[in-house]
Amino acid sequence: MMLTQIIRKFNLLILTLFVLSILSFLLVYLFPGDPLVNLTGLENLSPEAHQKLAEIHGFDHSYFYQYWLYLTNLLEGEWGFSFSSGNPLWREIMQTLPASMELSAYALLFSLLIGVPFGFIAGFQHYKLSDYSLLTASVVGYSIPVFWLSLILILVFSLQLGWFPLSGRLSLLYDIPHQTGFIFIDIFLSDVEFKNDAAKSAVQHLILPTLSLTIVTASIIFRLTRRSVIDVMSSQYIQTAYTRGLSGLQVVMRHGVRNALLPIIPLFGMQFAVLLTNAMIVEVIFSWPGIGNWLIQAIFQRDYPAIRAGMLAVSTLVIILTVCTDLLANLINPALSGDRRAQI
C-alpha cells in the first residue's frame, strides 16, 4: 500500500515535469523575435552561420526532433548559455538556487517554529483575549507587503541602529570557495581561517531577509493551525474523549495535537511556493545572490535562455517539494493510507 502511494506520487511527479519541459520548450517560440536569436543571443548572423546554428539546434527537423534534442540536452546538464554573462546556465543556476533554497528553508523553519505553537495557543483559547490579540497580529503580519517590510527593516536595523549588514550574503572580508552553494556547509568545508567569524557574519546577513520572509509566512501558518485546532477541538471525538474519562491534558496531547497537524502538513508544503515568490522580491532588496535576484536581472536584460532555464529550475523545485510533502502527509495519516472499509 505504501509502495503504491510512492509509485503513484512518482508518476505524478514525472508527468508534471514532462508537461513543464514542454512548456519551457515552447517558450522559445513564444518569445517575440526569431527563435534562433532568442536561443543563442547572436544577432546579425551571416547566412552560413545561421544555417550552421539551425542545424545544431535541429531547426531543419520537425518540432518533435527539436523537443527531443532539447530534452536530452536538459538531462545532460547543457542548459545553454546566458546572453549577458556568457556562462553556462546550469552552473549559474547551481550557484544561485542553493542560496534561495537556504533563505526559504530558514524562513519556513522559523515560520513553523513561530506559527504552529502560537496557532495552538490561539486555538485552545479561542474567542478569548489572547486569541483575538494573536489574530490581530497575524492580520497585520499577513497584510504587510514584503518589499515594504524589508525596506523598513533595513531602515531601522541596519541604517539607524546598525545592528545588521545592509545587503549581501557574507562580508567581503571572507572568501569562501563555492562548493555546495549552502553557505554554512561551504564555510565548514572550506579551509579558511576564522571559520567562526565567517559563520557569524553569515548569520548576521541572514537575519533581516529571513525575518521579512518569516513574518508573512508565520501569519499564514498561524492562521491555518489555529483554524485546524479549533475544528479538531470542537469535533465529536474530542468531546467523547472527555466523557471516556481522560484528563484535559491527555485529550489534547493524545488526540488534539496529532489530528490538528495531520490535515495542515500538505498546506505547509504549499506555503513553500508562496515563500519562494516572496523570497525573489526580498533577494532583490537585500542583493541576495539567489535565483530570484538572478531571474529578475535576466528578465530586465531579456536574457531569454536564462529566463527559460530559471523558470524551469524554480518550478521543478516547487513541484518536487509539493509532491514530497503530499506523499509524507499521506504516509503519516492513517485515514489516507491503508485499507478503507467499503461503503455503500
Partner: protein
C-alpha cells in the same frame, strides 16, 4: 433511592430575542436497573437533557432546577472536578454517529486501552501494565460481542463498520463499570440488523450487570422492545411519563397517542393503503413558542384552559400533564 432524579429542570438559551426556554420544567427519574426511554421528535430537547446531565453547558445557557441529583448528590452545586469524577466512574455516555466519536488517527486498541484508568492497573509493575491493559481490553471486547479482537484492536475507525464502532464505544464506557449508561440515539442511521445487535447488547448489559440505561431515541419500535419505562417529551416539556406497557396500552396525553398512532407497527387494525395519522403542523421553533401547553396549537383536544401550563397529575405511577387527558372519554 433513584439514581438520577430531575425535577423541574429548566434550560434557557440566550439568543437575539432574549432568554428562550428550551426545556421547561422537565421531570425525569431513573431507578436502579431500569431502562428508561426518552422519546420525542427532533428538536424536542432530548439531547439538551443529556447535555444538562453530562454537564456540557456552554456559557450562553442557563440551567435551573428544583432537583438535579445523582444518588442524592446535587449535580448543580458540586465542584467541577467532583462532577468530572462522577462522569468518569459512575455515568457513561455513548453518542450517535459512533465512527465520528472515535479519533480517526489512533487505532481502536490505543483508544480503548487509554480509557482504562490507572487505578485498575495500579497493583502491577509498570512494565506489566501494558500487558494488563491489553488483557482487560480484550476481555471487554469479548463482553460487548466483538470476538475477533485481533482484527479490530489494530484497526482505525474508518476501517470498521458502524455497529462495531458503537460496540466499541460501549466497551469504552464499560471500563469503569458505571451504574448509568446514557445512550444518545445510539442506533441512528444504522441498518436494521446492526441496530438489533446494538439494542440486544444494551438490554443484555442491563440484565447481567444491573446497568441502568437512559435510552434517548425517537425510534419507537426499538424503545418498546427494550425499555421498561418511557418519558415523552414535546418541545421541551415532559408530557407523559410511565411504564412502557401502560403507556402503550392506554396513553393519557393526546401527544403520546398521536405519537403511537403515527407508528404503523403499533396499530394492528390499520387497513392496507390507509393514510397514517399525523398531527397537523410542525414543532414550533424556539423563537415562536406558544404559551401554556406547547402542544396547544396542534392539539386536537385543545380548549381555552390550555393557555395555562397544565399541572403534573398522576394516576398511580403514571404521570401526565394535560388539562383534558384521554381518561375522561371512558368516564
Amino acid at each position: 433511592m433513584a439514581l438520577l432524579d430531575i425535577k423541574n429542570l429548566t434550560l434557557e438559551i440566550s439568543g437575539s430575542t432574549g432568554w428562550m426556554k428550551a426545556l421547561d420544567k422537565v421531570n425525569l427519574r431513573i431507578e436502579e436497573g431500569e431502562i428508561r426511554a426518552l422519546v420525542g421528535e427532533s428538536g424536542s430537547g432530548k439531547s439538551l437533557i443529556v447535555r444538562a446531565i453530562v454537564g456540557a453547558i456552554p456559557d450562553n445557557w442557563r440551567i435551573t432546577a428544583d432537583r438535579l441529583t445523582w444518588r442524592g448528590r446535587d449535580l448543580l452545586t458540586i465542584s467541577r472536578s467532583e462532577r468530572r469524577k462522577i462522569m468518569r466512574s459512575e455515568i457513561a455516555v455513548i453518542f450517535q454517529n459512533p465512527v465520528s466519536s472515535l479519533d480517526p488517527s489512533a487505532t481502536l486498541g490505543e483508544q480503548l486501552m487509554e480509557s482504562i484508568p490507572r487505578q485498575i492497573v495500579a497493583d502491577t509493575w509498570f512494565w506489566q501494565r501494558r500487558k494488563k491493559r491489553l488483557q482487560i481490553a480484550i476481555k471487554l471486547l469479548h463482553k460487548v460481542g466483538i470476538k475477533d479482537h485481533q482484527k479490530y484492536l489494530h484497526a482505525y475507525p474508518h476501517q470498521i463498520a458502524d455497529d462495531i464502532a458503537q460496540k466499541f464505544l460501549i466497551a469504552c464506557a464499560l471500563v469503569s463499570s458505571p451504574q448509568l449508561l446514557i445512550a444518545d440515539d445510539p442506533t441512528r442511521g444504522m441498518e436494521i440488523t446492526t441496530k438489533i445487535q446494538v439494542l440486544k447488547l444494551l438490554s443484555q448489559l442491563n440484565k447481567t450487570r444491573n446497568l441502568s440505561i437512559l435510552f434517548v431515541s425517537h425510534d419507537l419500535l426499538a424503545i418498546s422492545s427494550m425499555a421498561n419505562k418511557m418519558t415523552v417529551l414535546y418541545c421541551g416539556q415532559t408530557v407523559e411519563d410511565g411504564k412502557m406497557v401502560q403507556l402503550r396500552k392506554r396513553p393519557l396525553h393526546p401527544y403520546t397517542k398521536a405519537l403511537l398512532d403515527s407508528a404503523p407497527s403499533f396499530r394492528k387494525d390499520l387497513p392496507p393503503k390507509s393514510p397514517l395519522t399525523t398531527l397537523d403542523g410542525t414543532i414550533p421553533t424556539l423563537q415562536h413558542l406558544p404559551i401554556g401547553c406547547r402542544l396547544g396549537p396542534r392539539c386536537p383536544r385543545a380548549q381555552k384552559e390550555c393557555v395555562k401550563v397544565p399541572e403534573l397529575r398522576h394516576v398511580q405511577d403514571h404521570f401526565y400533564s394535560c388539562h383534558f387527558p384521554l381518561i375522561r372519554e371512558k368516564e
